[in-house]
Each structure stands twice: as C-alpha cells, then as structure tokens.
Symmetry: C2
Subunit: 396 residues, 2 copies
C-alpha cells in the first residue's frame, strides 16, 4: 500500500463504491440472513435497526466512499524540513501507519466507512465486526475487494476476521506482528476487554460526559439555545451535553426557562438546583458521572469558574466542554484550564465532530491524549517518518 499513488487510492475508493452498488442484491440478501438470525436470537429492536441495510443505507455507504476519494491525501505531506549545520537535509514526512485493526459492533456501514478511510490513507484495514453481522460484512468486504482488484490494489488490503468468536477477538488484540494500531468502536465492555488484553497500541474512542457551563456573565438567551441544542439535537451521541453547570447568580433564571424550552428532558439536580425548581429530581454522585445518551441531564450549581473547573476535572471524560460567557478573561481561563479533547466558547458541544470541524471524514473521536485527540480524520491514520539526505556525512 505504501507504494501506491494518490490517484490509485482515490480510484480504488471510487471502484469500491461502484462495486457496493452493483453487489446490492447479494449484500441485502446476506443482510436479510443476519436479520433473520438476529430476530430468532432476540437481538432487540435497537441492535436489529443498527444491523439493517436497505438501498438507501447502501447508497449512503457508497457515497461515503466517494467523498473520501475526493479528500486531499495526507501521505507524503511535509511536516517540517531543516538543513543541519553539517549539510544534512532533514525532513519529517507523513506515511501510512500500516495495518489498522478495527473492532466494532453490528453496523455494516462501519465496514465500508473504515475500509475507505484506511485505503485512502495508504493503510490496510483488518476488520473484526460482530458475529451478528458476519454475513453482511462478508458480502460488503467481497464487494470492496472487487473494487480494490479493479483498481489494481491487493484485495487483502481490506480483510475481515471470519471467525467472530470471543477467543479470536482476544487473539486479534495481541497481533503485534500484524497490526500497527487497534481502534475499538464500541461500548464500555469492549473498551475494558481492550485494556485487559490488547498489546497492539490502541486509540480509544471513549465516553463523552460533556458539560456546558453557564457563567455569571453569560448572554442568557444564547445560553438557553446552546443548552437546548447541546442536549436535544441528538441526545444519543458522544458529543451531546450530559451535565449542565450553572453559576449561582444565573441558576434561577436559567432553570425557570428550561422546563419550558426542553420539557422532554428529565433534569436531575444537586441540592442548590432543586431549591430553584422543586419538581427536579435529586442527582446522585453517580448521575454526575454518567453519560446518559438520552433525554436526561444532571444539573449542578457552582459558586464560580473554579467551581465549574473542579466539577469538570472530577466528572468529565476529557471529550468536549463548553462555556457560555461574555467575559473574555473567564472564557480564556476555561479554554486553557479544562483538560479535554475539545473546549468551546459560546458554541454547542454538538460541533465536536470531524465533518463540522472541517476534517471531511471521521475515523472516530479520540478521548485519549496520545497520537490523536478529539475528532480524527485521515491524518490520524498516518505516522511521521524522518527522511535524512546527505553527501556522505559521518558523525565525529
């Protein structure tokens, strides 16, 4: 893959899209078999919906591959260059990671999304989807491999683990000789298993217990809009607000409005918050630590900016944290001192997303600090090598 050209890789992504479209009958039949087996096994409505493919979802997978084909290629980008006093020319150049392992749940669209991102960035994708999506994934990978062959690339550059057992997944996490990086896309049990077993370096796409802090100096109308958007625009995703922090001076007026502007959200407050809103349920310590991924929101009233910073340091997961204030110095302290992948001033937490921030595509949102932090685009699938050119220099 490292020997392929930008043009070959873009063409491969487009060919993969075309082969997804032309294999739609086979893919939908395989998906129907997975759905039947899942129904028989009482997989549950949410899991079945994630598993389900139809013409529209397949077209959106194909369109995703074409979008990735159109993105600029990070491979070969010059990160820095220098000429040393001894004349050595030293450059740092972006290169592929190599083989990217991805372990994910039962959405078959992840198979083509991840394959496209890996191929575009000159990596190979080694995919381990869930057992319940095996037939769908086999059919999708067959189509993607046909696209690779058409573009003159090795079909093994997109490979699927065909034994979906737990034992093989554990073995996969330890394949240091084969995998250069492992990206888990799943819930807490997958993450825990990775931490226990993986010896391949991991990029964690962890929880988002995201806060919005409404400062004393906030524009309250703006605050209400940001709260409602952060909480209700799409409550089931990692960049949704899970916890609201209110400066005590503005807590009464904000709380008064919330019941009216987002009545569908269940608020769970600390003692002070409940003093201003007697219908509010009491929040436990556990509630403040929970990523609800639904229409529940914890609420704490804080004394000042330091109270908010301490609360976020204690309960935050380092994903996305927002402040609403008109005070530039307060905003600056918040932006500098909160330790999170993304910090926002006067904007909804929902903007923390690869597409919204201009990456053009998203591999995931990293909540770890190593390698990539926050939304990851194609660049997160690269490493940086040193290229050193001389005229016979030796070290004295």
């Amino acid at each position: 893959m490292a020997r392929t050209t930008d043009g070959q890789r873009a063409a491969a992504c487009r060919a993969m899209a075309q082969h997804l479209r032309s294999a739609s009958t086979a893919i939908l039949a395989a998906n129907a078999a997975d759905l039947d087996a899942g129904t028989a096994a009482d997989l549950g409505a949410t899991a079945l919906d994630r598993l389900r493919l139809d013409e529209a979802r397949l077209e959106s997978m194909a369109a995703g591959l074409e979008l990735v084909a159109s993105l600029p290629d990070p491979i070969g980008d010059l990160v820095s260059k220098d000429v040393r006093p001894n004349g050595l020319r030293v450059a740092r150049v972006r290169a592929p990671l190599g083989v990217v392992g991805v372990i994910y749940e039962n959405r078959p669209n992840v198979t083509s999304d991840v394959a496209g991102l890996c191929i575009r960035s000159a990596n190979a994708a080694y995919l381990r989807g869930s057992a319940s999506a095996l037939q769908s994934n086999l059919a999708v990978v067959a189509a993607l491999q046909a696209g690779l062959v058409e573009a003159g690339l090795p079909p093994a550059a997109v490979s699927l683990v065909k034994d979906p057992s737990h034992e093989v997944a554990i073995e996969f996490m330890k394949m240091r000789e084969v995998l250069d990086v492992l990206v888990p896309r799943g819930g807490p049990s997958l993450i825990a298993s990775m931490l226990e077993h993986a010896t391949v370096p991991v990029i964690l796409d962890g929880d988002g217990n995201c806060h919005v802090y409404v400062d004393r100096a906030a524009d309250l109308e703006m605050a209400i809009e940001i709260i409602v958007n952060s909480k209700t625009h799409r409550p089931g995703v990692c960049n949704a607000m899970e916890s609201l922090l209110l400066h005590r001076d503005v807590a009464p007026s904000v709380l008064e409005r919330l019941a009216e502007v987002m009545p569908e959200v269940e608020l769970r407050g600390d003692d002070t918050a409940r003093r201003f809103s007697d219908q509010m349920l009491a929040a436990s310590d556990e509630d403040f630590a929970t990523e609800f991924l639904g229409l529940i929101c914890s609420v704490a009233v804080v004394e000042d900016l330091d109270g908010a910073l301490n609360h976020i340091a204690r309960y935050g997961t380092g994903h996305s944290e927002a402040i609403v204030t008109e005070d530039a110095r307060t905003a600056e302290r918040f932006l500098n001192e909160v330790d999170a992948a993304a910090v926002l001033h006067n904007a909804s937490t929902r903007f923390v997303d690869g597409f919204e921030l201009g990456l053009g595509a998203e591999v995931g949102i990293s909540t770890q600090k190593l390698h990539a932090r926050g939304p990851m685009g194609l660049e997160a699938l690269t490493s940086v090598r040193w290229v050193i050119q001389g005229e016979g220099q030796t070290r004295s």
Copy 2:
C-alpha cells in the same frame, strides 16, 4: 502545571539545576550507599558504572536541565486554525499530556533528564527507577523538588515511586487514573512486562536492528566511511549499524576493504559473502535478527534493491535504515518504501538522534508508529487540543 507560564517552567528547570549542584554532597553520599549495596549484591561492573555518580556527571545533569530551560516551549503552539462557514473559529493548540510515567533502569541521570523535559513541557513526571538506584534517586528528586518549590511550582510535579518492588511496578503500569502516558526506558524484559501488564498508553523505545545497504551505484569510498562510522562510532547504542547489505556487484570490493578499515569488528556473513572472504564466520538467521550492541556485524549479499528491501522488511525493527548510492531513483525508492522511523541516504545511521536532528533534547527514540516516531523531543510530550470559539452557534 497547565496553568504555569513558559517563564515559570524555564525558571524551575534552572532552579532544579542549581539545587542539584548545591545538594551534591548529599547526592554523592546516597549514591555511595547504592554503590556499596550494589557491590555487595554483585551487581556487575557495567551496572555499577551506570549507577555511579561523581562531580562531573552531576554537573552534566545540571547543565542538561539548563539546556532544556533554554529550548523553545511547545505549549500553546498553534498547529492549525480555520474559520468554518458558520463563523466558528477552530484552532488546534499544543497542550501538555498531563502526568508522564517513566520506568527506567539504574542510571540516576535519567531521573533529572526526564524530570527536566516533563517540567519544561508543563507535564508532571512520575518516575520509577530501579531498586539498585533508590537512594540516589531519592536524593536527586529531593533536590529537584527544592528547585520546583523555589520557582513556585508544586513539588509533587516530580515524584518518585518509593517502593521499587516488582509488584508495585506492575500496579504503576495500570494507573490509568493517574498516568496519561508511560515511557519505558530499558531492555527487552521491561518491554515484555509493559506489553503484558500496562493499561496506560505506552510509547515504546525499542530495539534498533539498523541496516546500511550499499547499492551497485554507490561511491565506494563514501560507503566505507559510512559503514565504519555507523558500526564503530558507538557500537553500544540503538542507532548503530548491526547488519550490512551489499549489492552483489560491489560486495567483493567492499568486503576486501572491511577487514582492513575495521579489523576489530567480527563479521558474520551469508554464503555469498563468505565466498568473497574466507575468514568470515557464518551468519545464522538469528544473527540477522540480532541487535548486537557491540563489535559484531552481520553481512548479507543481495541481488538488487528489492533484495535489500525484502531483507529489511523481514529483519528490521523499524528504527533507522540507510542506503548508499549515487542513483537518485534508487535512493528515492529506498526512502519511500522502507518502513522505519528514520531512513537515510548517504549518511551514517548515527545521525538518528534528537540532538543531531535539531530537537535540542531527547526523550528517547520511538520505534512505534503511534504518537511519536523516531527521536522524541519536547513536542512528543504534548497533545493537541481543539479550541472552538463562537458567538452562540448551534447545530441545525
């Protein structure tokens, strides 16, 4: 630490240097106790030499801290900025990693070297040195902490694990709530233990089985100089050449010269190489995979560039790989296709070093692809955060 200024951190490094100097009597006494215990325990001459401090080594540790104080501060550096169509201002800004855990062997200078790099980059250092250096490390850390206090920084920003037992080391590798990254500086047994136990993300500073390939189109005088320098300048370090690859057209002339220009080096060759040099010992497969770290060098004769690329892909450890050739296209293919942290054309492998490449300091040399690859300077101790500023934008 994230709230400190560049000036405070530089002042802290200088104060740490001064306190090392003024505590020299206590440090050397503690070191003498370690040396006595090590002698009684038959630690061996090499380990005792690594452990030994004297006035000159202590002064070099202090000077190292002053050098780090003089380096530019990476914190706050703008990696990219953009204004989105909705007016959001999006910046990627360098931030500290947080708490950097380092596990190392018995050189007490590593204690101050690592502490200085961490403090300069607004991180805290949590250090676990070897049992045999405990008294020395306690004395060094006490001096460093006195420097931190003098500069108004929290002394806990440089902390030492005081129980040097194996059990506590294993616990240390799993402290995800405390450590943001773990950097092992040690041999294969430490690396294996990290892979088995660590749940904290690791930056591996692995072996260097480095090759020099002399192409058919090489300037042979240049090749001889690069071979001798790469092999003998400092044979015990990771960027020394361990294996020599010769194009078959130049093998006889190069081999003829080697016995004369580096007679102290034991050559172990494949069958073809031995045909041109009958005193040469036979190289086993194991020899080609070995980082000798001494005056031994394996030699293989290859048919062409592809032969060299295949040999490096099979035996290399992804550290540093060099080609000597006057043919620009051959050089370009080698530089693009070898998968290593550093690739060199017409230069000694010994240049792959943080100081030689202009980083000003070196945390280590990473042989992994994630986060940092090759020589690591202060930038490798940072992460990149997203800072997003708006005027009330919400997502539609």
